[in-house]
């Protein structure tokens, strides 16, 4: 630190004097700079374009898959601010911080601006014609099954077009990958309810028991759930809803809960069955299944005290309907399906199916329904790469080199593919490994349609449209690229579409009647659709089965202690960074983590008890080692974590991508073991075991919260004492 003898008082003196100097010498001048600044006018202006007055366009947020509709303010041809579109049933005019940061995706200085062809370690800018010609050349003579496409979740017309392209290549190798996706829960729901994602009605529930579902932060459709949550807290009939969160690492939702139960990692299912047993309302085979789960046994295995289980059970008995959610913490284990099945069974026993778990609507256009990403797809892709099966590989909307678990050795396997094409916004880790990088339009420059996975009231198709002119002349929309590639194969069929916009317009106009525009002429319908930004559809409700098959439900014995790697590694998924695809947006880096208030860096959450045991204090740099690898990061002592677990947030630790992402923090994906969920083959994200040891270095943790920490100096917000310990006559 500074020890040159300048104290605070001296510093202020210097500051004052230099300020005075500026003021004196600037005297008489104002900052008028006539004739210096250029004032740029429009070449051609529409009537509604008035300098200084904002115009608003509707579009769709592309920061995550929830499909919130946005409303962007544009002034002087520049998009300045995004808010929610009130007409959307999903976000009803609201938008989360991640969505707000969408403008920083658009104006990001690190966007790729030209098609780049690998020349050794450098990318050489080439023309689009050359890039397309190169792809055609590399495709020549390649069999269909030697071509693979890895993408994030796709829906809408892009999915249709992409499907047609893959058909034209005669390949079925489309791997839809999302690093953080409820893959196991989807499969478990399919079994229990007959649908992958039922419609959860948090607003109708009187109690929510959530097993690690961070629905206020990063789970499925957080903006929508936040609004339902507000209703839930207001209460159905004046009775304020009670939230109980069961998880091993506190999430944002856990922090909001009335009762937060730290459960031993992986025993969520045991607790669910224990609660069914304690409820005592089950009969038949369910009762047979749970009868072994006595309070004492459950308490011993989960680490949740008997009285806590009794309280939760009493609450569930007292208040109906309730809602039990299985989230990423429950599904992240090798027996994740069983955990989720046990939790779904609890819902069934409580009679919530049909009340707070409703049937979703189906989208009338099944070809546009989203291909949902999961991690099993990455494994298949990785296996194929490792076997050297693919000669041409396309990748977009995902960054597997960054998000694949270290045990996959994905980067090495990726290198085995013959010719790698990445459609990218940034030169992220995956794009850096590609042979050809095609620069994409930002989400605020591109055309598209999107069907959200989680639909709320009725079905809807979201329209994505440019909010302003393109910033860089040589970027292209994903749809335009796919269309251009498709033209290489089926030029006759697609030659009438000049670009993706033309394709989109004609595709929507062809179905005008079904989209609610019957009778309107084409132009009116089109303008109307664009100005709304949403096409609402009357979808029919899908049937809910509501029957969890008990026969296959068998929870494994609780995992034994691992001598070498005693701790569980819980990857923390935060509301702002998610899987790290937006880390190069500085607003997200600088907005403090809601629980630890740390900015711009990663941290290792350790329970105070464990820290004392290991002699660790806040700011110690520790090495977290798994069988796969190790990372070093600062410690944050956090009471909201199970003593047998440590947590590192995902999303940081990029070694590429851009100036705001590169070099900040560490990437826990790197040390993740390749353990899979037994039934679904999804990656079991919470199964990695680690050990930690001090490196001896210590840093000052950069965070917003004060020195006292989250402990409030031992004081409580409102102190309380139980009535039997107080003599009221003396108090008054």
């Amino acid at each position: 630190m500074i020890d040159s003898g300048i104290d605070r008082r001296d510093f202020l003196k210097v500051l004052g004097w230099s300020g005075a100097a500026v003021a004196l010498s600037g005297c008489g001048n104002t900052s008028i700079e006539d004739g210096k600044e250029t004032v740029v006018s429009y070449v051609e202006a529409n009537d509604y374009m008035v300098p200084g007055i904002g115009v608003y366009f509707n579009s769709t947020c592309a920061q995550c898959d929830a499909g919130c509709s946005i409303n962007g303010r544009i002034r002087e041809g520049r998009v300045l601010k995004l808010e929610g579109n009130p007409d959307s049933a999903i976000n009803k005019g609201k938008l989360c911080g991640l969505g707000q940061a969408g403008v920083q995706h658009h104006y990001n200085p690190d966007r790729v601006r030209e098609p780049l062809l690998r020349k050794g370690n450098k990318g050489e800018a080439i023309s689009w014609d050359k890039a397309y010609a190169l792809i055609a050349e590399k495709m020549a003579g390649v069999q269909g099954d030697e071509i693979a496409l890895l993408s994030g979740g796709v829906s809408g017309h892009l999915k249709v077009l992409l499907g047609n392209y893959l058909d034209s290549l005669n390949t079925k190798n489309h791997f839809v990958y999302e690093a953080v996706a409820p893959g196991v829960v989807r499969a478990a729901n399919q079994k229990a309810y007959g649908v992958e994602m039922p419609r959860y009605r948090l607003d109708k529930a009187k109690v929510i028991l959530s097993f690690g579902a961070d629905f206020l932060g990063a789970w499925v459709s957080p903006v929508h759930f936040s609004q339902q949550y507000a209703q839930f807290r207001k209460g159905v009939d004046g009775q304020r809803g009670v939230l109980v969160q069961v998880e091993s690492k506190m999430t944002l939702t856990g922090a909001n809960a009335d009762r937060w139960l730290a459960v031993k990692p992986g025993t969520e299912g045991v607790l669910a069955l224990g609660i069914i047993n304690a409820l005592g309302t089950a009969a038949g085979e369910v009762a047979d299944l749970v009868k072994e789960y006595s309070l004492v046994r459950v308490s011993r295995e989960t680490g949740v005290s008997v009285s806590q289980i009794e309280k939760v059970t009493a609450l569930l008995k007292m208040r109906s309907p309730s809602l039990v959610l299985a989230g990423s913490a429950a599904e992240g284990y090798a027996h994740g399906s069983q955990n989720a099945a046990a939790i779904n069974l609890l819902n069934q026993v409580l009679g919530n199916v049909g009340k707070t778990i409703e049937a979703p609507v189906s989208v009338p256009f099944p070809q546009m329904v989203p291909s949902k990403g999961n991690t099993a797809a990455l494994k298949k892709f990785n296996d194929g790469l490792s076997a050297g099966k693919y000669k041409v590989v396309f990748s977009f909307g995902a960054n597997p080199v960054f998000t694949a678990p270290g045990a996959f050795k994905f980067k090495d396997n990726f290198a085995k593919a013959g010719f790698k094409v990445a459609f990218a916004h940034y030169l992220d880790e995956t794009a850096l490994q590609a042979d050809l990088v095609l620069p994409l339009d930002s989400a605020l420059e591109d055309w598209g349609t999107q069907v959200p996975e989680y639909l709320t009231e009725g079905a809807q198709i979201n329209i994505q449209q440019p909010l302003m002119e393109k910033l860089h002349a040589n970027t292209r929309g994903v749809g335009d690229i796919v269309l251009a590639l498709l033209k290489q194969k089926k030029s006759e069929e697609y030659k009438s579409y000049e670009d993706y916009y033309a394709y989109l317009r004609s595709a929507l106009l062809q179905n005008k009647g079904a989209l609610g525009g019957g009778g309107a002429d084409d132009d009116t319908f089109w303008t109307d659709t664009l100005s709304r930004g949403i096409v609402k559809l009357a979808g029919s409700a899908v049937g809910l089965t509501g029957h969890q098959n008990v026969a296959g439900l068998k929870l494994p014995a609780v995992a034994e202690e691992n001598e070498h790697y005693p701790l569980y590694l819980i990857p923390g998924v935060t509301a702002s960074l998610r899987d790290g695809r937006h880390t190069n947006q500085p607003w997200l880096q600088e907005s403090p983590d809601p629980l630890t208030t740390i900015v711009w860096d990663s941290w290792v959450e350790i329970h105070p008890k464990k820290a004392t045991e290991l002699g660790i204090v806040e700011g110690d740099i520790v090495e977290v080692t798994s069988r796969t690898g190790s990372v070093k990061a600062q410690v944050y002592i956090f009471p909201g974590i199970h003593p047998e677990a440590v947590s590192i947030p995902v999303g940081r630790g990029h070694d590429a991508m851009g100036r705001y992402a590169k070099g900040y923090g560490v990437n826990p994906f790197q040390i993740m073991d390749a353990v899979f969920e037994v039934e679904t083959g999804e990656l079991a994200m919470h199964e990695t075991r680690v050990k930690i040891h001090k490196t001896g270095q210590r840093v000052l943790v950069v965070k917003d919260e004060g020195a006292a920490g989250a402990l409030q100096m031992g004081r409580k917000i409102a102190s309380r004492v139980s009535t039997d310990q107080i003599d009221l006559s003396k108090e008054v």
Binding site: G5, S18, G35, S41, Y42, G52
Partner: protein, 231 residues
Amino acid sequence: MYRYLRLPILLVGLFLAVSAYAANNSQPALTTEDGLGPQVQQPIEFPHNRHAGLHDASDPNKGGMEINCQYCHTYARRSAVAGIPPLQKCMGCHNSIDSVKDRPRIKELFKYWEAKKPIPWKKVHDLPDFVRFNHERHVKRFVEQQNRPVQEACGYCHGDVKEMTVARRQKPLAMGWCASCHEKDHPVTAEGGTPVDGQAYWYSFQKPVKTSDSALAPKAKGPNDCWQCHK
């Protein structure tokens, strides 16, 4: 001893350094010798006098065309900022004025149009970023409510533009100068369109006062809040 000397030396040094820096980076003088703003080099020397000047009855090829300021500067009455007319506006007329198409300035104009490039005009009237002047409000007040001639109303701040070729700043546009109008007593009768007790418009730096003498209209003294301009 050393300790006592160090701070004054530091302070004096810093003062000199900052003063020198500020002096070297002096902004353009507020007014030139003739009391006007600096001459500004524009990419095209736009002749305001030809467009907005008075007719010359003797020779239609001399004189001006008396075009209303608002015909081109159409944003001034619609927005806080006046903006610059889009190129399209110039072309709207000049596409069909064949007689001047061979003039160098018009040729230059067509070049920009054909390249679909905006003309990089230089700002002649530039306020500091901490001042919000609202054009719309002033145009509404003087032109629409009080029916004053447009050139007079615009001229309060922009000077006699119809006599200029390339526009040049004629007024200081400093706060004291703003006050020179806003501290005058303005009648705020219904004739001026301003509600006497209304919150909406106080034209000077103080709230309007009703005088006991009902024959005399109440007087107002400008926006009485700093944030009306400094926001």
